[in-house]
């Protein structure tokens, strides 16, 4: 299987606080990997470093064999890395379809009609029906907004899509529709790196779960193994807290 992304010994500190203390892993084509871990453990920072929205202090991010931390024109590499944010971050002045079209048109210099085709396809994959395409973000529910954001990412046909807790800002009843859209992507063979605490999604869809704690990957392995047979005390505690929280819901 072809390697899409390799993260090698990635380090990042804010002032004196080390957030990432040397993170190493890779993702192969068509794989879905899930990152779990307590808040403050560096999950978001890791994703932001991968597409260089946050500059890592050291280490490499190798995308299709090219170390993008050394790239001067970083925006070129970013075209190949999709990003889905916790708070959707849709462009407020654009309708749903324009949010999806703007990437292909402005970045890939696609013609408007080609971009429309690409965008419609992407919106269909995430299950946004045609009557919503001309709605502005403020007129959409959180779940719809996040699905438009996912469509915006896939319309660029990136090599890998990073998801930063895509459902944690959503009401419980809206989480399902977003997870279903993501399941569709996994089935379609989109390469994904997902930070999430949706254990069921990880169990069904992920090839591997990484447990990121205190800036390092403490444990990793197939979902079943990680979730049912955690080795470290930290992971055990984290999982039991997670299931307790879920029961309270």
């Amino acid at each position: 299987m072809k390697e899409v992304l390799q993260v090698v010994d990635l380090k990042k500190a804010y002032q004196k606080v080390e957030v990432l203390k040397g993170v190493t892993f890779n993702i192969n084509e068509r794989e879905t990997k899930v990152i779990i871990g307590p808040s403050g453990g560096g999950k978001s920072t890791l994703l932001y470093c991968i597409n260089m929205l946050v500059k890592p202090d050291s280490g490499s991010i190798i995308l299709d064999g090219v170390d993008i931390t050394r790239e001067r024109k970083i925006y070129k590499a970013r075209q190949k890395i999709g990003f889905v944010f916790q708070h959707f971050n849709l462009f407020m002045h654009l309708t749903a379809i324009d949010n999806v079209r703007i990437g292909p048109i402005r970045v890939k210099s696609m013609s408007r009609s080609d971009a429309t085709e690409t965008a419609s396809e992407a919106l269909k994959i995430v299950g946004i029906s045609e009557n919503l395409w001309s709605h502005y973000p403020a007129q959409l529910s959180g779940g719809q907004q996040q699905r438009v954001a996912i469509a915006r990412a896939i319309a660029m046909s990136p090599r890998v899509i990073l998801f930063d807790e895509p459902t944690s800002a959503l009401d419980v009843e809206l989480i399902g529709e977003v997870l279903n859209a993501m399941r569709n992507l996994t089935i379609k063979g989109v390469t994904m790196l997902v930070v999430t605490h949706e254990i069921d999604f990880a169990l069904d869809m992920a090839e591997e779960i990484l447990f990121l704690e205190n800036g390092i990957i403490l444990e990793k392995g197939p979902p079943k193994e990680i979730l049912t047979n955690p080795k470290s005390e930290r992971l055990k505690r984290f999982l039991s807290k997670l299931s307790k929280d879920r029961k309270e819901l």
């Binding site: 070129k76 970013r78 890395i81 462009f91 002045h93 703007i102 402005r106 970045v107």
Partner: protein
């Protein structure tokens, strides 16, 4: 009432000329200020250190000195060096444009800061260059956010254009003063000028409100919420 009638009859043409100059100076200055002000705000927010320094210093200097001093320097000061010599009209437009730019820069900066940073991150994550992020994502939103404060500047500039009289330009206030000196009806002639300024501001305010309404997009700028 008769006095006003006489003034209009005798000096109607001159008043019209005054209005023309006032409008002309204001519009030219506001456009100079718009272009330069936007550039300054981008420099200050996204520029390299030297650009940031230049922009901040410029804004600080212009806002920290009276516009009348700036006009004197541009008209009399520069011509005394023999390097450039502006006509009064050029000096007025340049002076007021440069002055307005400093204020508009800050209005634009405020508008930039009002756009959630997440949208910039999202635009960058699509692979946009900084230039594209500013022009395709931020600018269309900034213009909507900036309209109310920008209207403020437009109206202020209309009144400030009266300072062009010190450069011997026959704009509205200057005309009023002239009529007063010829007829000794100072109060009446200035009242006429004042009323014209008021009408002008009123008209501009409505126009900008119309723009605001036309360009409104749900979710951008202060949405009306009943409280």
């Amino acid at each position: 009432m008769e006095v006003y009638f006489v003034i209009f009859q005798k000096f109607g043409k001159l008043l019209f000329l005054g209005v023309y100059f006032t409008v002309f100076i204001t519009l030219c200055a506001v456009i100079v200020g718009l272009v330069l002000g936007f550039t300054l705000s981008v420099m200050r927010l996204y520029g390299s250190k030297p650009l940031k320094f230049i922009s901040t210093t410029y804004i600080e200097f212009v806002r920290g000195t009276p516009i009348i001093v700036q006009l004197f320097i541009i008209y009399y000061g520069l011509s005394s060096t023999g390097l450039v010599r502006f006509t009064p009209m050029q000096a007025a437009i340049i002076g007021m444009g440069l002055n307005s730019a400093a204020y508009q820069a800050e209005y634009f900066r405020t508008a930039f800061l009002a756009i959630p940073t997440g949208q910039t991150e999202a635009a960058l994550s699509l692979g946009m260059t900084r230039f594209k992020v500013i022009f395709f994502v931020l600018l269309p939103q900034i213009f909507r956010v900036v309209i109310p404060s920008w209207t403020n500047e437009l109206i202020a500039l209309t009144q400030y254009s009266s300072l062009a009289m010190i450069l011997t330009i026959m704009e509205l206030t200057s005309v009023a003063k002239y009529i007063g000196s010829k007829t000794f009806f100072y109060t009446q002639s200035f009242a006429i000028a004042g009323l014209i300024y008021l009408l002008f501001s009123f008209f501009l305010t409505r126009l900008m409100m119309l723009f605001e309404k036309r360009l409104a997009i749900p979710g951008i700028s202060a949405a009306k919420v009943r409280m």
